[in-house]
């Protein structure tokens, strides 16, 4: 194999691939006339927003398309064979052996009922005739290769016992994919669900795999930082078609196609924009010694323990300030803000809004203070009740606080305009809107009670980059126009750098660093902050000034 004369021939070459969507879709083809090549030791990134057909391309190559979709044209040549022409059984024989896949969500890619070691062994059992002992030895070697500590112990672990941040689980998934030295590795958003420090490690792992395994990697992502970090070549997709393709440096720094330029310009800049001065303003929210721990009840085999989610936290936010709270999953940032609005009851501490300590009030007395502080949640699909019209949900707040229905409906229509949506949207149901539109509706709903403080809990994390930018701009505008104070919770340091005045960095429930964006990101003092900043992918790249780059004159 190593002396293969055609060493640099493409492993995978896709020609004019077309996949039809069922009738009644918003476009006739999920993927249309797509051509690309993956060579050995090359990482090709497919970038695009949700619905661009990038995942469909990956699934077609794996032969795992959902039943409703059928490839209708083109060819998919892998090692000289057209994968679209072979039978399902032959395709299945290639899967896992010659072509392997890493999925987005490691928790659902592993079967919770089996030990992870056995799940790796299964690959050998299916595709090879190795003896039991050999299979186990190979599995342990693989675990070592993907840098799992203590392979013997992890071999006998079940998926739920592996470490949080999902880093160990994703490593297992990668180990399964690599088990038989595949020629082609397809990774569908493999780091999207991971924390930034974990993401950095996994990306590093991919880089090494390319070197050690001679494989070609087709990497699907929506994140340009990730592209900058690992890609050799980039393919940009929009609505099922390739709009731009080229070496990573060209595409990222000198994008030609308007859509690529749009996407890249939507990536938040690494250098924070100048901010308005807020230090002289009155204090809108003052938190003193806020603390929360959860009790885990004991079971027959284990004593009850208590887990500290938020160590005593104190901070103050001034009027019209945007305070970012950054940290990885499990750092306690969501618990902290949920304590502020009493969705979770804090154990100790005070929360002063407009001079009133709302943490000390009983639930009934707190209710009228609810309209001062509102929240926008992360998941645009979960935060709207599917069974109520948008209008019904927009007037919920005002009506609860005694505004007459008619006035509230008027106000709802006005709010739709403020969040730049059609006024008639109030009569429709949430299913009829996209993620970005839903998030605008959520913003409108929060604004309906005229709050002084608005909490955005990862409010843009689930959105595509161009939509994310729109929503961020909208939030910024509204904040200025209505004089709001914004608490902005995010794990994305780029976003934090773009919208926040000051930031708090949280680690394991504690605030480890605080200061202005320029101070914290420019000159981090705490080791954790430094680790976070170091782990950000694509450090060598920043969004180019697109206005300075002319589009290449088209012939």
């Amino acid at each position: 194999m190593a002396d293969d004369p055609s060493k640099n021939d493409p492993i995978l070459s896709i020609r004019d691939l077309t996949v039809a969507l069922p009738e009644g879709g918003d476009r006739p083809y999920a993927v249309e006339g797509l051509s690309l090549e993956v060579r050995p030791r090359e990482i090709v990134c497919i970038v695009g927003e949700s619905g661009s057909g990038k995942s469909i391309t990956a699934f077609t190559t794996m032969g795992l398309l959902p039943g409703a979709l059928r490839p209708t044209g083109g060819e998919l040549r892998f090692e000289g064979r057209d994968l679209l022409a072979i039978r399902r059984k032959e395709h299945a024989a290639l899967r896992g052996k010659k072509i392997a896949m890493v999925f987005q969500e490691p928790m659902s890619a592993l079967n919770p009922c089996y030990m992870v070691g056995d799940q790796i062994v299964e690959v050998f059992a299916t595709h090879t005739a190795l003896s039991k002992a050999e299979r186990k030895a190979k599995t342990l070697a693989l675990m070592d290769e993907v840098k799992l500590p203590d392979p013997e112990r992890i071999y006998r672990s079940y998926p739920h016992q592996l470490s949080g941040g999902q880093r160990q689980r994703q490593r297992i998934v990668i180990a399964i994919a690599l088990a038989l030295d595949p020629r082609l590795l397809i990774a569908d958003e493999p780091t999207t669900a991971l924390d930034v420090t974990t993401q950095a490690q996994i990306l590093h792992l991919f880089g090494q795999l390319r070197e050690n395994h001679d494989a070609g990697i087709l990497f699907v992502t929506h994140n340009f930082d990730v592209v900058a970090e690992i890609a050799d070549r980039v393919v940009v997709m929009e609505k099922g078609k390739i709009v731009e393709e080229g070496p990573v440096g060209d595409v990222l720094n000198r994008p030609q196609h308007p859509y690529t330029r749009l996407l890249i310009s939507a990536v938040p800049k690494r250098h924070p924009s100048p901010r308005d001065e807020v230090s002289g303003k009155a204090i809108a929210l003052k938190v003193e010694g806020l603390e929360k721990s959860f009790r885990l009840p004991g079971t027959m085999f284990r004593e009850g323990t208590s887990i500290k989610a938020v160590a005593p936290a104190s901070f103050a936010v001034r009027e019209n300030e945007t305070l970012g709270i950054v940290g990885e999953s499990g750092s306690g940032k969501s618990t902290l803000v949920r304590c502020l609005i009493r969705l979770i009851e804090p154990n100790h501490g005070s929360v002063e809004i407009g001079g009133v300590d709302v943490a000390r009030l009983d639930k009934r007395a707190f209710r009228i203070h609810r309209k001062d502080i509102q929240i926008i949640f992360q998941d645009p699909y979960g935060s709207l009740n599917p069974r109520r019209t948008v209008g019904d949900q927009l007037i919920e707040g005002p009506v609860n606080f005694g505004v007459p229905r008619e006035t509230a409906i008027q106000r709802a229509r006005e709010l739709m305009r403020i969040v730049r949506m059609d006024e008639d949207a109030v009569q429709r149901y949430p299913v009829q809107f996209s993620g970005g539109q839903r998030q605008r509706i959520c913003i409108a709903r929060a604004l309906a009670v005229e709050p002084k403080i608005l909490i955005a809990d990862e409010a843009v994390s689930a959105l595509d980059v161009s939509v994310q930018k729109e929503v961020l701009n909208l939030l910024n505008d509204i904040k200025k126009r209505l004089g709001l104070t914004l608490l902005f919770i995010t794990h994305d340091l780029r976003v934090a750098g773009e919208v926040c005045d000051n930031v708090l960095v949280m680690e394991k429930g504690e605030i480890v660093e605080r200061g202005s964006v320029a101070e914290v990101f420019g000159n981090p003092r705490h080791t954790y902050t430094r680790a976070l900043l170091d782990a950000m992918p694509g450090k060598g790249w920043d969004v180019p000034d697109l206005s300075a780059i002319a589009t290449r004159p088209t012939a």
Partner: protein
């Protein structure tokens, strides 16, 4: 991944939940069959006085045990007559009223009890949940038929007693399923959003929880309705259900059992009617489940 899931749906995604429901329902065979049969039986029950050819209670002893038309009888009594010479078709039509009434009322009483307990347990968890779970376990430990028999034997059989006893005994499935459905819905962020917007607890339960577990509720309601109808028939058959001369289908089977070997249609006719009704209700319920889940849930 999201592309795979959302792309084929985007055309239908513009419909409101209700429009989508009807769109799917029309193409679901079981749902259509169940709905049509059920609607027919309901119509028959409502209009029984208008369509029944005879008085169901009128005994004409000279016309005893006339066979139905398809066994050589006359069109004067299309389904023949029973041992007391009462017109069988008329009794069957009036009997539909009793079966449906028992099914509806018993299922409604059960639904109210079970849904209340289930939602409270699911929403509050903790101690409330412990108490409700205990109640469910107690209820599950009671053999329904035995308890019903004992109560009816003590209080005497009448329509009211049978309906109340069944209503008080069939709430367990409502409580179990709606408890877990509520636990799921409760963690979704729109519930938190409503709380943050100052919605009172009853309002959250009514506007945000109930509509989102309603499809489970409807499905179980149909199942329990069928269950209640069968139990009534069983009780009546054993002589402890509704009392003669009321024309309940179960009672008709019971009265016909003595003639099983000679006049088998006395049992077959109400038996088939009962079978059709229960089948239709179950298919209707299954249809609703298929039509509202899984994608229909959003």
């Amino acid at each position: 991944m999201s592309a795979t899931a959302s792309a084929p749906l985007s055309g239908k995604a513009r419909l409101t939940p209700r429009q989508r429901f009807w769109h799917r329902a029309r193409h679901h065979r079981g749902f259509v069959f169940g709905a049509v049969v059920l609607a027919t039986i309901v119509a028959v029950a409502i209009f029984a006085p208008l369509i029944a050819p005879h008085d169901p209670y009128l005994q004409v002893l000279s016309d005893r045990m006339q066979p139905p038309v398809f066994l050589g009888g006359t069109w004067h009594h299309p389904l023949g007559t029973d041992a007391l010479g009462r017109d069988y078709l008329s009794r069957l039509l009036y009997g539909a009223r009793i079966s449906l009434l028992i099914g509806l009322v018993a299922a409604t009483i059960s639904a109210v009890i079970g849904t209340t307990l289930g939602i409270l347990a699911g929403y509050f968890g903790g101690r409330v949940d412990t108490v409700v779970t205990f109640l469910i376990n107690v209820r599950l430990a009671l053999p329904v038929v035995l308890v019903a028999l004992a109560v009816v034997a003590l209080l005497g059989g009448s329509l009211t007693v049978v309906v109340s006893v069944l209503g008080l005994l069939l709430w367990d499935r409502f409580a179990v399923v709606l408890r877990s459905a509520t636990r799921q819905v409760r963690t979704i962020e729109y519930v938190a959003a409503a709380e943050v917007l100052g919605a009172s607890l009853p309002r959250i339960l009514y506007k945000d929880i109930l509509p989102n577990i309603a499809n489970h509720l409807i499905v179980i309601a149909t199942l329990e309705m069928a269950h209640a109808i069968i139990l009534e028939a069983a009780l009546s058959f054993l002589g402890l259900g509704v009392q003669p001369p009321l024309p309940s289908w179960g009672l008709m089977i019971s009265e016909g059992k003595a003639m099983l070997l000679f006049q088998s249609w006395l049992i077959t006719i109400p038996g088939v009617a009962l079978f059709l009704l229960v089948l239709a209700i179950n298919m209707f319920g299954d249809g609703i489940r298929d039509v509202t889940t899984p994608e229909g849930r959003d």
